[in-house]
Symmetry: C2
């Protein structure tokens, strides 16, 4: 037995154990492919050598604004600066907090306070919002000495020089001593800054708030190990050497599902878009030979419904990773007819992005298109970076039957699960109860082992004791030729408890569509109890990432005039 | 500062920290792609579900032969059993020791003794060898009670049933009580065996002896973390979903450069070949639509020189990962002309396989073929799994100039470097001195950062104070149209210290080639001092992996009749 101890006690040393960190990807890309284009944004373009230098300058500046272990926030849409911050901020040992740009000043002030941010990097367009948020925060609690620094990111592609910037400065921030512009900050940074590599791969690299209620902010912490692994998994799932990645997905969303770092691992090219614009997407895809982009189903819907004249031929295989909601099979079919290759993944902030991937099986190639789309609309199976995923009965923690019918909660374990919630040991404990991360998503397991989500726990509609999956009702509505998009939520009902209420945006087809005709259409394709009892025609409210805000719709459904109630016994 | 501690002290738990291990790849492949073909060997074929079941049965049997932390050896060419052992042995917590099948009984006995193997799995063909080795070992030291178990692997594709097996048993192992056949062992194994997952990712998974001298065996230990990471890196470098991997590379060589586990990570298909046979290779590539194989340059040379009638059209893109020696540019050119895509990597046992990869740059596509081949013959740059690679002056540990001329030693650090040498703390300390793993390979760094090996420290020829790279001389010889293969070593010389001595195997072209004409040819293409002074026509001795045995040639050169010495002042 002595030799066994001998082998296992060979100690880790600097030569054979390095803390895993995605920051190394940038160092390698710069040293190996320094001349290759790293970032393209409008007329701007950088090489990996330049991006590395800019990130080191940034890290040096960050180290003057905050100490190791502090947090720095960014409020910005996609732009080169937020990309660089994914490397430059943790290269100073500081935690990167990317904020959702669609939240309001009150919510923002709560989050700034919660993470005790030491500096806010803000895109010029969002300066008024941030200024207001900071005022709310500072007027309430913050002692004057602890005011965060402000760094303004001026978008050099949409503004015409520093004139607009200077006037904004005056307008919103009179008397704020620390205001500085991002490019100035970099100019004063040290390109030879000594990078603060993580001493432990468990160290926090970033902080992402989930879109929960702001009264109890859920700050999801990522560590270097998890993000390193997730970056590799992301590229194994979807990308190859020489990938050109189009940033339609906001980087503030789960650090761009870790593709921020993943593109650097491949020394690929980032094509950055400030916001989603289908016409520009087609132009950029053609111009830069884009190979990959990520988008929520709503964006796919915009693509398939775009006017023909803005569509351009694809330059080659374009892989689209879709997640964030269940894509309607009809949208998958249309996207593939347009020539895109759809990869459906399911994930959530706590999983660094993807948790499940709908791995394609070659034997499905010969099935009818409609069947293929339904198979692909399932969330799928665990990716290779996880230890286990299961659909469990949350009371017994036993797996549900793989019968495609029995509903349980998706749970997972592995090194690409978050480190925990910031300052919330109780929520962390609950999230990890029983040694599994509880996703809160309800799903079935099909006989072939593929998982299909039925709903978020809170999105399920319970009507007369029947569980109705809002996703299934939406899927039927999406097949209607006159519907652009639809969302279904529960409406309180004195008799049934809840009934399905559909919010629908129609296409401009000129056809006459009535509430009654849609309800009749649903009754043809669904069990009678699952067909909506209420239909409302309107635009659908969305989050910054393009997800439909069901919480807003639920409030609207709750506030509907009870006189309009169509409840009746069947 | 309190919140920083708070974030970093969020403890690891079962939900968010799993020891990395490549064994999970098999579990996932079986659960996700259980019906997909895992292994094809002649007429035999298994699915991932079957392979998983067989490995669990094997693990259950192994757990009866050895305790956790013990070592079990295998002496076998490529076959399904050795593939299964890569999962089944560590699934019992036991270390897998894959032996080189070309070493002799004396050497084998030293290694069995060194690792105190608890069981030897042996292919029937190698049973006489193993029996002899065990007898040597047991006659010297081993107390009778500690005799290792023997498991005989009968190759079901080359033998016609158990008859031959039984007679061998009688012939070689009369009285050896524990003899059992591999398939019997599996039949008696438990398909529901509870897998012994590693408690710590630093735990040893395998033991690979390097082809050093056997008086001081160097047993390279791999851990679960390093092999997990290397498997992902290997597939990022060369493979995609649905890869079909042809096993020309012996699995006993660095665990098949971690492709053993990597193919499972992709749920790809293993096409197993017992030994290299170019005709069969072409047949298998066409029949199974092979996408990837690994081969040393000697095998590439066999492919390009194969008779035309055995070559078949390739079924699609076939990527060939070559390593183990520097491929002559002429061989690269011919392989690519045949339609193969060559990826050149450089590695060694201590690095789990690859250390450097010659990443291709798109801008090289337009260069002349000859230039392209020379660029690709360079060893390249660090892969994304490593922390750092550098060419250092071993005395000062300073990096050499990136001038393509100054020679230093390749050193590396990162989590895909071995855990250490078994029972050799001093060799481990030396290998990791200064926080770097010392490869012992001498190289230059080109101005573009790409590393090119000049020689193993021991292969360099020092003649009249000039360093001669044996690789450069060989590269010139390989361009000669009548040469099949060549190796150059140092020959002791009273005047020059050493002179280059070339061992050459000619093609059967019918041309008359003399020693003198070859020396004259070399003088045309090399500095005068670097041209061989001795040329010997013969077959070249090779290791099991097809590497030319320069140590054998050095002995031959040393033993040459001094009268044949062609040394003279220039």
């Amino acid at each position: 037995m002595s030799e066994r101890r001998d082998t296992n006690l060979l100690p880790k040393c600097e030569a054979n154990y390095a803390p895993l960190t995605p920051l190394r990807f940038l160092e390698r890309a710069a040293s190996v492919h320094g001349d290759r284009v790293s970032v393209i944004y409008g007329e701007l373009s950088y090489t990996w050598a330049q991006t590395f230098e800019r990130c080191r300058r940034l890290a040096s500046a960050v180290s003057r604004l905050a100490s190791a272990g502090d947090t720095i926030s960014v409020v910005a849409p996609n732009c080169p600066a937020i990309y660089e911050m994914h490397f430059g901020v943790p290269m100073a040992g500081v935690v990167l907090n990317t904020m959702n740009i669609r939240i309001d000043a009150n919510a923002l002030s709560v989050l700034f306070s919660h993470c005790e941010t030491k500096a806010v990097f803000v895109d010029l367009e969002y300066l008024p919002l941030v200024h207001k948020a900071l005022q709310i925060w500072l007027s309430s609690s913050q002692p004057p000495g602890k005011r965060p620094h402000i760094v303004v990111i001026e978008d050099r592609c949409i503004s015409s020089g520093t004139g607009s910037m200077m006037s904004s400065k005056k307008k919103y921030l009179a008397g704020w001593g620390e205001l500085v512009e991002y490019e100035e900050l970099l100019q004063n940074g040290d390109p030879q800054f000594v990078i603060q590599w993580p001493a432990d791969e468990w160290d926090t690299i970033s902080l992402n708030y989930t879109s929960g209620t702001t009264s109890q902010p859920k700050g999801v912490l990522y560590n270097h190990r998890g993000t390193y692994l997730m970056s590799l998994i992301a590229i194994i799932m979807e990308m190859n050497e020489n990938s050109v990645f189009l940033w339609t997905l906001p980087m503030f969303h789960c650090n761009g599902w870790c593709y921020t770092w993943g593109v650097a691992a491949l020394a690929g090219t980032n094509i950055i878009m400030r916001s989603v614009d289908v016409k520009l997407m087609y132009e950029l895809i053609a111009k830069h030979k884009v190979t990959t982009f990520c988008a929520v189903p709503t964006v796919l819907n915009m693509i398939v419904n775009a006017e023909q004249h803005i569509k351009k031929p694809l330059p080659g295989r374009v892989t689209v990773v879709t997640s964030g909601a269940t894509p309607p099979p009809s949208v998958i079919i249309q996207m593939e007819q347009e020539g895109f290759s759809i990869v459906h993944v399911y994930g959530l902030t706590e999983a660094h992005g993807a948790l499940l991937v709908c791995d394609w099986k070659p034997e499905w190639d010969d099935l009818p298109v409609q069947t293929q789309a339904h198979l692909k609309a399932r969330q799928g199976v665990l990716h290779v970076g996880l230890q286990a995923v299961a659909v469990l009965n949350p009371s017994t923690m036993e797996p549900v039957l793989s019968d495609g019918v029995t509903v349980g909660e998706i749970m997972a374990k592995g090194s690409t699960i978050m480190k925990g919630y910031l300052k919330d040991k109780e929520a962390t404990r609950r999230a990890f109860e029983g040694g599994w991360f509880h996703t809160g998503d309800l799903a079935v397991v099909h006989p072939d082992g593929y998982i299909e989500i039925k709903d978020r726990s809170k999105d399920i509609i319970i009507s007369g004791g029947e569980n109705i999956s809002s996703i299934e009702v939406e899927s039927v509505l999406h097949q209607h030729p006159d519907i652009f998009e639809a969302a279904v939520v529960a409406r309180p009902d004195p008799f049934w408890g809840e009934t399905p209420c559909a919010f629908v945006k129609l296409k401009e087809t000129g056809n006459t569509i009535t509430r009654e005709s849609l309800i009749a259409y649903c009754r043809e394709h669904l069990p009678r109890f699952a067909a909506p009892k209420t239909v409302i025609f309107c635009d659908l409210p969305k989050t910054a990432t393009g997800k439909i805000q069901k919480n807003v719709l639920r409030e609207r459904a709750k506030a509907l005039d009870p006189g309009a109630q169509q409840s009746s016994k069947l």
